[in-house]
């Protein structure tokens, strides 16, 4: 280093500076992270964020089931079924989740979610991407196991998490079995019914 002429060193420094100047931003969080205690987390992984969102949505779904379908949602007669189904269709599980997803998108959330099924009652519940189609085939074979994948849609990169949805109470299977719009009428408690897809974009 002592033998490097100053002008050559200046040229090397200029090249390095130009490389740094090409970056549009400096990461101020690095400065603050350096001062913070080492054990504090300063970022959340995509998978952890997706798992957190999944937990919230499952809790909301459970609350909906309790409030709308009751603890023991057994239909005692066709007329009981008829009136309950018409109530449930207006605020069915699928419609509830879709409405929540719309509301979230309206308020600028930088993630999205949707439910899909191989046996959708509404066309909105059918697979809408290649990955969703794949998940609906793969996940029934691996009960309880989610699928995490990088996905590209319309040139945009996403982290996509797909969680299996099963009939967690008798009302899930019963409601779908009795719905005339359902392509399948033989669901049982614990059966795979579809998936919950959570997407987090990686480009903005």
């Amino acid at each position: 280093m002592k033998l490097l002429p100053a002008s050559l060193a200046l040229g090397v420094v200029a090249v390095l500076f130009a490389g740094c100047a090409a970056r549009s931003l400096s990461d101020k969080s690095d400065e603050s992270a350096a001062a913070a205690p080492a054990h504090l987390a300063d970022r959340v992984s995509y998978q952890r964020m997706a798992d957190g969102l999944h937990a919230v949505l499952r809790a909301a779904n459970a609350a909906w089931l309790e409030a709308e379908a009751g603890d023991s949602p057994v239909f005692t007669s066709p007329s009981d079924f008829g009136s309950r189904i018409s109530d449930l269709n207006r605020g069915s599980h699928g419609a509830f989740l879709r409405r929540a997803a719309q509301e979230i998108a309206t308020h600028g959330a930088e993630f999205s979610f949707a439910i899909r099924s191989p046996w959708p009652i509404s066309p909105l519940g059918a697979a809408q991407t290649g990955l969703e189609e794949e998940a609906l085939t793969v996940l029934p074979r691996s009960p309880g196991e989610p699928l995490f994948r990088d996905e590209q849609l319309g040139g945009r990169a996403y982290f996509t998490a797909v969680y299996p949805e099963t009939a967690t109470s008798a009302s899930c299977a019963d409601c779908h079995n009795r719905n005339t719009g359902s392509p399948r009428h033989d669901f049982a408690d614990g059966d795979f019914m579809g998936v919950l897809v959570i997407r987090i974009p990686r480009e903005f």
């Binding site: 309206t106 809408q128 849609l153």
Partner: protein
Amino acid sequence: MVSKRQFLGRRGWTWHLLISVLALASTACRAAAQIPPPLPPVSAGVNDRFIDVTRQAGIGFTHQFCHDGIMNILLSNGAGGAVFDYDNDGFVDLYLLNWGPLDGVTKRGLKVAREPNRLYRNRGDGTFEDVTARAGVAGTGFASAAATGDYDNDGFEDLYVACFGANQLLRNRGDGTFDDVTTQAGVADAKGTGISATFLDADGDGSLDLYVANYLTFDPSTISEQNPGAYPGPLAYPGEADVLFRNRGDGTFEPITQNAGLYAPMHRGMSVSAFDCDRDGDPDLYVSNDDTPNGLWLNDGKGQFHDAGLELGVALNSIGEAPGSMNATLADANNDGWLDLFVTRFGYGSLYVRQEGGHYLDEMWRSGLGRLTQNHVGWGGSFIDFDNDGDPDLFIVNGSAFTLGGTLSLLLENDGEGRFSDAGKEGGAFFATPIDGRGSAVLDFDNDGRLDLLATTLANRPFLLRNRGEQGSRNHWLKLDVRDRHGRVAYGALLTVEGGGRTWNTEVLCPTGFLMQGDTRVHLGLGSASKVDRLEIRWPGGGTRTLHDVAVDQILKLREPNP
């Protein structure tokens, strides 16, 4: 120890000085070299349907890009223009927009003059002449998009240019020149980040009103907390309300956005399309937004609007998000008599197919478009029946939102039922040429009945692609130049055409293709139909006209009769 002087000698010092200077110079050039040079003409193959005639047509335009790369969100969008017949000679002319330096947006300290917008007059022989200076339409400012409409009912199409900053209204004098009447008309909207506009008669009073879409309030000091290597996304900036200007009929306009029910300050408009969604005789509006839900604003016939986008299923895409929507192109994709919408996006696009009952179903995946567009950020998207078989195909220009390096455009063929497949090979060499695509427009510049294409790019030249058809094709066509009683393009006129056992329902539209307005003449590919049995026109002002046994393969001029 050996001294430096002894080590290097005089010649050594010279070489090291030279190397240092070269290193310094290369850093400056490397930055500048991120902007690719203008692309050369694309050599067409023998069987190519579309051929690049830009240079031979005399279009010597390059989009002025005053930075080293896409350094912020405003620099990602590009500039477009309009296709319109400014001199009423029956041949469409081209108006292309430019940027120039803009404080806080383009490179700091750059001392360059703004390059002009350019008006190219169609000579009718396949070539154009630059009449910008003569016409007085060089423009000013950072221009995004243009719309045309005869706002003063004198029979000549006027120009409105949406800019980041003050917009411009250029009144066509009818003698080949234009007059900047922005201030007296009251339509500058100087604080807005104008990115799209359309003319429409919102209140049915016989005068064209003007809707301007505004983007977002940019602040160059904003930085991204999530991805330090990239510029902040749209949600980092406040949205801006769009504006509806009502035409008073005396050459002036008044803003009536709130009174009309259209005020949406949190949205970030990217483009606006006007069409009669419910075929009730008045124009509705579809506004494509960036990272906020799109709006379908239904008109009650008196100029009062409400947003039914969420309710009718056209606000979000099929995976439940509201990503950056560029524009909506309109056509009856599945030939059921109702206009559908294809929306290009940074992210998953949408093909909204209208259903019985008035709501829409997003068939992006079922149509095959999801897979075909998977790896592309779509900007300008335009329906085009490129083979005149009677169903609308699609042309999409693509490009990265972050780097200049080129992406392939798409030509997608419709099977007649709203299912699409890649027709790029038939399209030709252009579709194997990476470009930084932005605006798109459909036109028939040589009036040969085969629809041509115009694409603008970011930091490069446009592409005028002539459709030379397919050898031996026996498909027929009909082009309608529909004017109202004032001689204006009859925006909003509804058309029903029957021939060869088929029926087409369409509309005279102000056709938008992200930053661009296309040829306003209604083109119908008729397939094998050798005549039109019945043609019905429902005029915007009321009244209908029906023609029978109309000859095909012609441009038919239709004018609304006086009352």
